[in-house]
C-alpha cells in the first residue's frame, strides 16, 4: 500500500518535535525582522545621508535569494572570524531578509501620519524620542499589523530553507526520516500538511488580531 498509517503515526511525534524548532525559528526571525525593519524605516526618515546607504542595502537584500543569503552568513562570515551555528545563521538571515520587507510596511505606516501630528509635537516641545514613542508609533503601527502579519506567515513558509544548512527543522527531519527508511511519502506529505495547517491557523489568528485592533481604533 502506498500510504502506511503505522509508519505515518510513528514519524508524527518526531515531526511534531521538529515543528517546535520551525516555530522557534519563525518567531525569533520575525522578532529580528520586526525590530530591524522599524529601525530601518525610522533611520530612512533622518535625511539622505543616512537614508541612501540603507536604501541600497534594502534593495540588495530584497533582490537576492534568501538561500544565498543564508549560505553567505553561514559560510562567508566564518572567514571574517564570526562563526555562527546553523540555527543562528539561519534565523539571522530570515530576520534580515524580512526586515527589508517590514521596513517598507513601517514606512507606509509612518507616511500615513498627518503632518499636523508632527507639528503639534514640535509645538509641545516633545523630544524626538518622545514624539516617536508616544505620538507617532501608537498611531502608525496598528493599521499595519495585518501587513506585518502577512510577512510573519511568509517568513514561516521560508523556514524550510534552513534545511539547506542542516538545521533540524521540519523539512530536514522529514528528509532524514525518508533517507533512513526510503519512504518519503509519509514524512514529506505530513510536513506539507503541517505547514498548511499552521499557515491557516496563523492566517486566522492575524484576521482575529486585525479585527480586535480595528475595534480599538474605532473607539
Amino acid at each position: 500500500m502506498l500510504w502506511d498509517w503505522t509508519y505515518a503515526l510513528e514519524v508524527l511525534p518526531v515531526l511534531a518535535k521538529a515543528a517546535i524548532i520551525t516555530i522557534e525559528a519563525t518567531f525569533l526571525g520575525f522578532l529580528i525582522a520586526a525590530s530591524l525593519g522599524l529601525a530601518f524605516a525610522i533611520l530612512r526618515m533622518l535625511g539622505p545621508v543616512v537614508a541612501t546607504p540603507i536604501t541600497i542595502v534594502i534593495e540588495l537584500v530584497r533582490s537576492t535569494p534568501l538561500l544565498i543569503q543564508i549560505f553567505f552568513l553561514y559560510f562567508v562570515l566564518p572567514k571574517f572570524g564570526v562563526t555562527l551555528d546553523a540555527f543562528t545563521a539561519g534565523v539571522l538571515a530570515l530576520g534580515l531578509h524580512y526586515a527589508t520587507y517590514c521596513s517598507e510596511v513601517y514606512r507606509a505606516g509612518l507616511e500615513n501620519i498627518p503632518r499636523g501630528q508632527w507639528e503639534a509635537s514640535t509645538a509641545l516641545n516633545l523630544s524626538l524620542f518622545t514624539t516617536f514613542k508616544d505620538i507617532i508609533l501608537p498611531q502608525a503601527i496598528p493599521p499595519i499589523v495585518p501587513a506585518l502579519g502577512n510577512y510573519l506567515v511568509a517568513l514561516f513558509k521560508e523556514t524550510p530553507l534552513l534545511s539547506a544548512i542542516a538545521v533540524l527543522e521540519l523539512m530536514q527531519t522529514a528528509k532524514i526520516l525518508g533517507s533512513e527508511t526510503f519512504r518519503y511519502v509519509e514524512p514529506i506529505t505530513l510536513v506539507g500538511l503541517l505547514f498548511l495547517v499552521m499557515s491557516l491557523v496563523a492566517a486566522i489568528g492575524i484576521r482575529w488580531v486585525e479585527r480586535a485592533l480595528s475595534r480599538r481604533i474605532a473607539r
Binding site: S63, T64, P65, K79, E158, Y184, I188, V191, S199
Partner: protein, 216 residues
Amino acid sequence: MGLRSIIALLLATIALVAVLSTLEPFGIFMPGLLSGAWMTVRIAALGSFLAVVFGVASALVQLFWLFFVLPDFGISLEPYTVAVLALGLNVGAYGAEVVRAAILTVPRGQWEAATAVNMTQGQMLRRIILPQAVLTMIPPWGNLFIELLKSTALVSLITISDLSFKAQEMNQTTMKTIDIFTLVLLIYLAISLAITIAMRLLENTASRGLARGRAH
C-alpha cells in the same frame, strides 16, 4: 553554465505562471467566453483550490513533495520539470491575484460604455479592458518576477545545477568562499535589475496613447 540554466528556468516558469494566472481570473470574469456557468464554477473552484494549496503551502515543501513523493505514485518527473511545475504553481497563485486585481481596477464605466456601444465580450476585453488592465498589471508583475528569480535558487536543493548549486559545488572544490558567494549575489542582483528595467520599458510602451493624467 549555472547562469544559463536559471535564465531558461526563469523563462519556462514565467510562461507557466502567465498561463495559470490568466486562466484563473478569466474563469471568474468571463462566463460568456466559456461554455456556460457550469464551466465557470468549475474553473473558479479549481482556481481558488490551487490558490489556497499553492499559495499557502511553502514553495520548498511543494518542491520536495513533487520531487520525493510523486515517484512513489508512479510519476517520475525530471528534476527540471518538477522545478518548473512547483515554482510555476506557487508563483502562479500570486500571479492570478495580480491579474484579478488589475481587471477589477478598470472603472465600471468602461465596462458599461463598452456594453452600451454593443461590443461583444471578446471585443470589450481586447479593445477596452485589457489595454488598461495590462498597464496596472506590469509593476506587480515585475515584483513577482523578482520573487520568482529568488525562488529559482531553491531548485539547487533538488540537484539541478543552477547558479546556487554551482556556487556550493565550487565552494567545496576551491574554498574561495568569499569570492564565490559575493559574485553569486551580484549576479542575482544584476538579473533582478535587468527585470526591473525591462518592466519599466514595458510599462512605457504599454502606457503609450493612454492618457491618464500622468506626465509622460
